[in-house]
Subunit: 217 residues, 2 copies
Amino acid sequence: MKISVLQNILAANNQIATQTRLTLAEHLIPAINLISSPGAGKTAILERTLEALQGKTACGIIEGDIATTLDSERLSRFGFPIVQINTEPFGGDCHLSASAIQQALTQLPLNQIQLLFIENVGNLVCPAEFDIGETAKVIVLSLPEGEDKPLKYPLAFREAKVCLLNKMDLQGPLKTNINRILDHIRRVNPNLPVLQISAATGEGLEAWLSWLTKIST
Amino acid sequence: MKISVLQNILAANNQIATQTRLTLAEHLIPAINLISSPGAGKTAILERTLEALQGKTACGIIEGDIATTLDSERLSRFGFPIVQINTEPFGGDCHLSASAIQQALTQLPLNQIQLLFIENVGNLVCPAEFDIGETAKVIVLSLPEGEDKPLKYPLAFREAKVCLLNKMDLQGPLKTNINRILDHIRRVNPNLPVLQISAATGEGLEAWLSWLTKIST
């Protein structure tokens, strides 16, 4: 019973996601869907990314949060158009849905956007299950979350096109075994590229920017 | 449409949770429902807690994960009965449901248990929405997640009876402003007690153990 209900919701979602994918393709806009646990650094990575792309690439941003406009406020200084989605009125939805994105796109000047960033709700589970019409899901994993997370939350790592391993600057204090994390990622998705970065220090961001350039062309 | 479906699911869940609450009350077992983002330290806190309670309090543990038995394996050395729930067969469920707990309880020797710990799936959103028959929800927030999380994920902080602020040992490297976190917690739940702890160093655990003693009597 519950499963068939979920299948209906997913089918309706996927239909709208397909429409969104067509709309974005018409406007030649790649859409990056950033997924992670709360506090893994999605917004900090976006701050670094938008700063680097200012004056070079016309970006658009859709910010997903259950509540508050804190993240939009942090990103507004770069002057790119931003739409904030708060899922709280929808019962505190734990992920962005295709229909929320479809609504948000009507508020963005699509003719003037070359690259769209979508920051999903902080959640390592549900956002991975929903197609929102993106070009690529990007999974952000941060060192303090622990080495076992790819094994325990495999879907997000299977669905992603690239993994950003963030907060590399904390490797010392945390004594993180990076090889173990890489091994765990390979076990759930052997082909997933992993970029080791730190949004705090800027380490490794060139690789991420060049990945974005590749997916944009 | 979707909302009424969700209400039906929640109503069915709450009915089972009420049955569980009666069962636990008959056996005089307080049940602690641990909720947090992935990697905030729920399992590490449980390791410290079970170590301290060995030989004093007969504990039982229900471990919730989408996949793997990694956490059960970590906790098995303390000799307490453990049931691992993997939600992956249920579509990768992002939270423990009342019926999953009801099933798990049939696998535990309730007559020999004085205190039940339930480690929910790592997710700061959905587990807060589901009553599973617990005595108290406990929210674990770790410093690396950032100071804004209580505002962005308010429900978990509203539903909890106590907040464990974990990874205090990282305050130095992260330059975390603890007062700002405490202020943000107070804004969503002015009466929530906050215990500053570190599962890594053992700091602050006496306060947590004495909170457990209070709720157990």
